[in-house]
Symmetry: C3
Subunit: 270 residues, 3 copies
């Protein structure tokens, strides 16, 4: 087995053994789903957004998810407070810039978070990463309508500008720290028929980041496992809702050995 | 095939072809469900409520859903801001007056929205439409306990007062612009065992309104397709949750041809 | 049949016959699930949190659920307003102290609610009840990491201090008013793989409290029925999501006779 796959399997074993708390300040649409995904992959979820408690809550976390899907000013303030504390403690932050490019408020908020905090990983779709990188990309609502012509260049630019790892999810996911580039080819078209699958992928990445500080590998692990669960779930799907049920069951049932064997991660030549 | 059914099938084809963005300012209970229903029928959902972004977000929308199920003053303000912009742009607004009649705040808020905005379609249950029409109806929480004795009269009165189309859902749905009256007889009793099925019906209507500016027809199309999906889902249900899974799968799987064939829409003699 | 089981079955019959409104001021993660659980057990759910309407809404309720899972100051204020009105009207209040012990804000808020209101039943996990009783217990996020060594003592202390009934859920649930102690042994390990099962249990207890003013019995009934549904659902589960679907179906399908026959409730010798 190649060393990347082996390390991904080992990371999942550590998630299951240590049950890291994944503190989410996230959107109202996906809270239930991402809490369940956190449990199924092996972590413990908490959704807490009040500015009076987020700095305390995050001290116990293995990772912090900031997701702007239904943003409002007070929640953004809580993201900054929790994020600064996470940075002080060396707790990884994963940013999901939902709908970046769709409104000025969303784009501006994401850029403020990227400038104010040390973000470990940004997980977004092509349109969102394109909008934040400045290279361009079209987002309608929260959906990527037009990805950048060169998604690798967009991801690299954003990673270099903010000294972060960027995970651009699409049929073939691209993960880069601005220098090295990995791709993940797991996944299934059914994922596009459900709301919140991007947010779920972000949660998977955060669970891996809690136990694997090589963020390229953490992002690859989370996305590969999520995509692999989707591939297996698709065999039982009669539509989006039965696909979703099977997807959640699979995330729970997948073993470290299965993930290590099934992850389709490749490092591109630079 | 009668022309109404044919046009309903054509409307679904247009939804699937154009993927209209359905901007929801909606309640906290059903956000995930209505986002998924939007995707399954063929549109793109976005849930955005911050007053700083709603006017910009709605410019890209095919329809705007305003749903007061868990209302608070700042969200109502955002509804007014988004609604005014939608009116300027000719984007249809669909109002779901969840719990009208249950508290003074809900009834007053719905009437304020009806007076301040040009609402294309109001979709509510018998108790809600009765309360807003002034004819009476009893609502406990968000459930219609007592519908008006003459639901057609209640719907007509409300439609005439606010120059809108009213869709009153029940075992037999009533749709009227104050003059013409359509009924839709699709549906299944299982729908009453789940939370948010009224809100889902509203989302279906909004998706059709995004592509069909005859709002009588749009409301009939959305409700007929939703009810038809429920009929087919009931065959696979062992309880409310398995019914819900099958319902969502069916909304996705139904073709324009099936909907055109299965819609039970009748225009009443006036 | 022993009298406890018989009374539990009778309580379920009353829920189904009278459809009590269960007013929730609850967290953003579980709203959809607890609304559905309310419907499936036989009640009517309403989620309403605006301070301008909660006092009016609660007047029609059979029980009021206060759940601090994603608390914020304005919602806590609404809890106090709704709670005072419920107390005036003799409507039972069920408190779910989600995450008590995890942050100072949560613990302080729960204690404030316990001091300010006449709470009928507190339903929490071992860590939460331990933290509130002062006996100790560890909570990570919203999960009980370490329960008190003597959970009966912790529950009794909390019950005596605030003159309430405490329902501490675990593999074996403990219910006490500070003097008498009941245990409930229904349940299944699958419940620990899903978010919000504690909140769902609280909703079940509230539905029973709406029709049974012996709160020891109401708590026992709600927890026994929930656990029994889980036992039956486990037979059809392939993972957490298929378990959840079966659980919700079972809550709906269970008859008063089945619950009376299957409830494993024991009164401990004092």
């Amino acid at each position: 087995m190649n060393p990347i796959n082996q390390r991904i399997g080992e990371a999942l074993s550590r998630i299951r053994a240590t049950k890291p708390l994944i503190h989410h300040i996230t959107n109202l649409v996906v809270m239930n789903d991402t809490a369940n995904v956190t449990l199924h992959v092996g972590g413990l979820p908490v959704m807490a957004h009040d500015v009076e408690e987020v700095a305390e809550m995050v001290t116990h976390a293995g990772a912090l998810v900031l997701n702007v899907g239904t943003l409002s000013p007070d929640w953004v303030e809580s993201m900054l407070v929790a994020g600064r504390r996470a940075n002080e403690l060396g707790i990884p932050i994963v940013l999901d810039p939902v709908g970046a490019g769709a409104t000025q408020l969303r784009t501006a908020t994401d850029l403020k978070l990227l400038r104010s905090l040390n973000i470990g990983i940004v997980r977004g779709n092509g349109g969102e990463i394109g909008a934040l990188s400045g290279i361009g990309g079209e987002v309608r609502g929260v959906e990527s309508i037009a990805a950048p012509d060169d998604p690798v260049a967009a991801a690299r630019t954003l990673a270099q500008t903010y000294h972060t790892v960027v995970a651009l999810t699409s049929a073939r996911d691209i993960i880069t720290d601005g220098a090295r580039v990995f791709t993940v080819s797991n996944g299934h078209i059914w994922l596009t028929t459900l709301t919140g699958t991007g947010c779920m992928a972000t949660t998977m990445v955060a669970a891996f980041a809690a136990v694997e500080r090589d963020y390229l590998l953490a992002a690859a692990g989370g996305l590969a496992m999520f995509g692999l669960a989707a591939e297996l779930a698709a065999e039982k799907a009669h539509g989006p809702a039965s696909f979703k049920m099977a997807l959640f069951d699979q995330i729970y049932n997948l073993t470290p050995e299965q993930v290590a064997a099934g992850a389709k991660v490749v490092e591109l030549d630079s």
